[in-house]
Amino acid sequence: MIRYILRRLLLLVPVLVGLSMLVFTIARLLPGDPVRLAAGPNATPADIASVAKEFGLDRPLLAQYWDYATGLLRGDWGVSIFSRRPVLEDLSTYLPATLELVLAAMILAVAIGIPAGLMAAVYRDRWPDFLSRAVSLGAISMPRFFLGLLFQLGFAMWLGWLPLSGRFPLTEDPPSAITGLLTIDALLSGNFHALGIALQHLALPAIAMSLSPLATITRMMRASTIEVLQQDYVTTERALGLSRGKILFKYVLKNAVSATLTVIGLYFGWLLGGTVLVETVFDWPGLGLYATQAVLTQDFMPIIGVTLCIGTLFVLVNLLVDLVYGLLNPRVRLR
C-alpha cells in the first residue's frame, strides 16, 4: 500500500515535467509579444530590450526552460511580468480560495447526490425518482454562471439572506491563516464568528458550482444502484431476512458507491480547472480569475504555475480516488 502510493507519487515527476514543457512551449509560441505589452505603449526599443533582459526572455527557449525548471526545484516559480510579484506567492493566496470553493461544491454534490441517487433507484418510477430526475436535468442543462446570477438575484438581492459576492469582508478580522481555507482556519482556531461569515460567503458560489456534479453523481448513483439491486446477492440477503435498511445502506450502498467514485474524481479535477465563470460572477479571488488575467496579458509564468498546480492536484485526487476504490473493492489489488 505504502509502496503503491510512493510509486504513484513518483509518477507525478514525468507528468509534471511533460506538462511544464508543453505549457512552456505553447505559452511562448502564442502570437503577440508579452514584453511589448508589459513595457507599455510608449516604450522605446531600448526599454523593451531591458524588460526582456530583466526576465531572461532574450535567451534561447531551451535555456529559459532550464532556468525555470531548476528554479521550480528551489521554490522559485518565476515572477509575473506585470505585477512583478513572485508566482508562488500569488498561488499561495489564490489556490486555497479555489480549493475551498471546489471542496465545498464537491462535498455538497456527494453528500446530496449519493443518497438522492440511491433513493431514486429504490423508488424507481415513483415520485422521489421523478423529482430527482427533474432536478438533475435542470441542474445539468443550466449554465453555471447563469445559475450563479439567479442565486444572486434571489438570495442576495431579493431575500437578502446571503452576501452578494466576495470571499471575506475587509471590515471583519479574518481567522489566523493556517491552511488558507477560511472555513477550516476559522474552525481550527475556534473563531465561530469568522466561520459564520466565511460560510455565508461560500454558500452561493459553492451551490452554483455543485449543481452539475450533483446532477451527474445522482444519475450515476441511480444507475449503479439499480444495477446492484438486481444482483443475486441482494435476493439472497433478502431471502435470509436482513432488514431493508441494512441491505440498502450497508450492502447495496458500498457496491453502488464504488461504481460512482470514478465520476467523483473526474469531476473534482474538472471543477478545479473550471472555476472562472463562478469566480467572476461572485468576485471570488481564486485561481480561475488569476489564470484568466494571466492568459489575457500573456503573462506566462503565472500561466505555467497555475497549470502545474492544477495538474498536480488532478493527479493527487485521482490517486486518492484509486485508494478509496481499493478500500471499497477488495478485488482490486493496489500494488
Binding site: Q231, D232, Y233, T235, T236, E237, R238, A239, L240, G241, L242, S243, K246, Y251, K254, N255, S258, L328, N329, P330, R331
Partner: protein, 336 residues
C-alpha cells in the same frame, strides 16, 4: 399439520404484452424430513414457486390471483413484510444456483454470515444459547461463535482464519458451502434450494449434495430441491413433483414416480434422459412447444404435445388425483 402447504396457487405476472398465467394452481405439501425434488423444463415456474414461499416475488409485476401458502398453518400470502422478515432466514432458508453471484463481493464472508446469525439471534436468542433480552455485545459474540461453528460444520477448513476473507478468495464449492451455512445458521425448518449445484463441476456437486443430505437428516428439515437433474432427484430426494407450464402434473414418493411414471409428460421427461445404453442420435425429445402463458389454452396445458390427448382434455385443468401423501397424477386419461 404439514410444514409447508401450497394449495391451488395462481400467480399472474404482468408484462408489456399482458398478464402471463405463470403459476396455474400449484399443489404441494412438504413435511419435515421430506426432500421434495421439483423438476420440469425451463420456464415451468419452479423458481417462482420457491420464491413465492419466501414471498420474494415482487408484487407488482406479480399478483397472487388465488390459492394459499401455509407454513405450519400460517397463511404466508396474508403475512406482512415484518412477519415475513421474521420467517426468512429463521424458519425458511434459501440457497440459490450460482455461488459466485450470491455472495456480496465487497464484504467479508464472516461479516455476511454474522449479519444473518444476528438477525436470527435477535428473533430467537436461544439459537445463540442466550436468554431473551441479552445485551447487544453478548449477542454479537455468540453470533460470531455460531458463525465459526457453522462454517466448520459445512466443511470449511480452518474457519477462524477464513472469516476475514472475501468471497473471491474462495472456490465455487467453498462459496456454496458458505451460502449453505448462511441459509442454515438460523436453524430453519424449511430449506428451499434452487438448483444449488448446477453451477459447480461434477466432483464438487457430489460433495455439496452429500453435505445437504447430511444437514437435512441432522436437522429434520423439509426441503424443496429444485433441479433439472433427475439423477440427483433419484439419489437425494424422498419425493418428487413434476411441473409443466405452471402446474404440478405428477407428484409422490420418488420411487413410485420415477419407477412407474404415469403422466405422459413425466414419461416423456424420463424417456428424454440419456442412459449408458442410449445409442448415439437416439436421444428422444418432445415434439411441439409449451403453450403461451399469456393466452393459455383451456384445460390441460400439455394437451398440444400429448401423445394420449383426447377431446375431453381441453375442458378444464385436470386436478391432481391420488391418495394424500401418495402417488398423484393430474391426468384423467391415464387414471381411467
Amino acid at each position: 399439520m404439514a410444514l409447508l402447504e401450497i394449495r391451488d396457487l395462481h400467480l399472474h405476472m404482468r408484462s408489456f404484452d399482458g398478464e402471463a398465467h405463470v403459476l396455474n394452481g400449484i399443489d404441494l405439501t412438504v413435511d419435515r424430513g421430506e426432500i421434495w425434488g421439483i423438476v420440469g423444463e425451463t420456464g415451468c415456474g419452479k423458481s417462482l414457486t420457491g420464491l413465492s414461499v419466501s414471498r420474494l416475488v415482487p408484487t407488482p409485476p406479480a399478483r397472487y390471483a388465488r390459492g394459499a401458502i401455509r407454513l405450519d398453518g400460517e397463511d404466508l400470502l396474508a403475512a406482512d413484510e415484518k412477519r415475513l422478515r421474521a420467517l426468512r432466514g429463521r424458519r425458511i432458508g434459501m440457497i440459490f444456483q450460482d455461488p459466485t453471484t450470491n455472495l456480496n463481493p465487497v464484504f467479508r464472508v464472516g461479516e455476511q454470515l454474522l449479519d444473518v446469525a444476528l438477525h436470527a439471534g435477535r428473533s430467537d436468542p436461544s439459537l445463540l444459547g442466550l436468554a431473551p433480552g441479552a445485551s447487544g455485545r453478548a449477542l454479537k459474540r455468540a453470533a460470531r461463535e455460531l458463525s465459526l461453528a457453522m462454517l466448520d460444520r459445512v466443511g470449511i477448513p480452518n474457519p477462524a482464519a477464513r472469516l476475514d476473507d472475501y468471497p473471491h478468495q474462495f472456490s465455487g464449492g467453498m462459496k456454496q458451502r458458505v451460502l449453505i451455512a448462511m441459509a442454515l445458521i438460523g436453524r430453519p425448518d424449511l430449506l428451499i434450494a434452487d438448483e444449488p449445484t448446477t453451477a459447480l463441476d461434477v466432483s464438487v456437486q457430489a460433495q455439496i449434495l452429500r453435505l445437504i443430505h447430511e444437514l437435512v437428516r441432522e436437522h429434520q428439515l423439509g426441503v424443496m430441491f429444485i433441479t433439472h437433474n433427475l439423477g440427483v432427484v433419484a439419489q437425494l430426494c424422498s419425493h418428487v413433483a413434476v411441473m409443466y407450464a405452471g402446474n404440478v402434473v405428477e407428484a409422490g414418493p420418488v420411487r413410485d414416480v420415477l419407477k412407474s411414471p404415469r403422466h405422459p409428460y413425466t414419461n416423456a421427461l424420463l424417456a428424454a434422459l440419456p442412459t449408458a445404453g442410449t445409442a448415439r442420435g437416439a436421444l428422444q425429445g418432445l415434439a411441439g412447444t409449451v403453450p403461451s402463458l399469456l393466452t393459455p389454452p383451456p384445460g390441460c396445458r400439455f394437451f398440444n404435445r400429448c401423445p394420449r390427448g383426447e377431446p375431453g382434455c381441453t375442458a378444464a385443468t385436470p386436478p391432481l388425483v391420488g391418495p394424500e401423501g401418495g402417488h398423484r397424477v393430474a391426468c384423467p386419461v391415464v387414471l381411467r
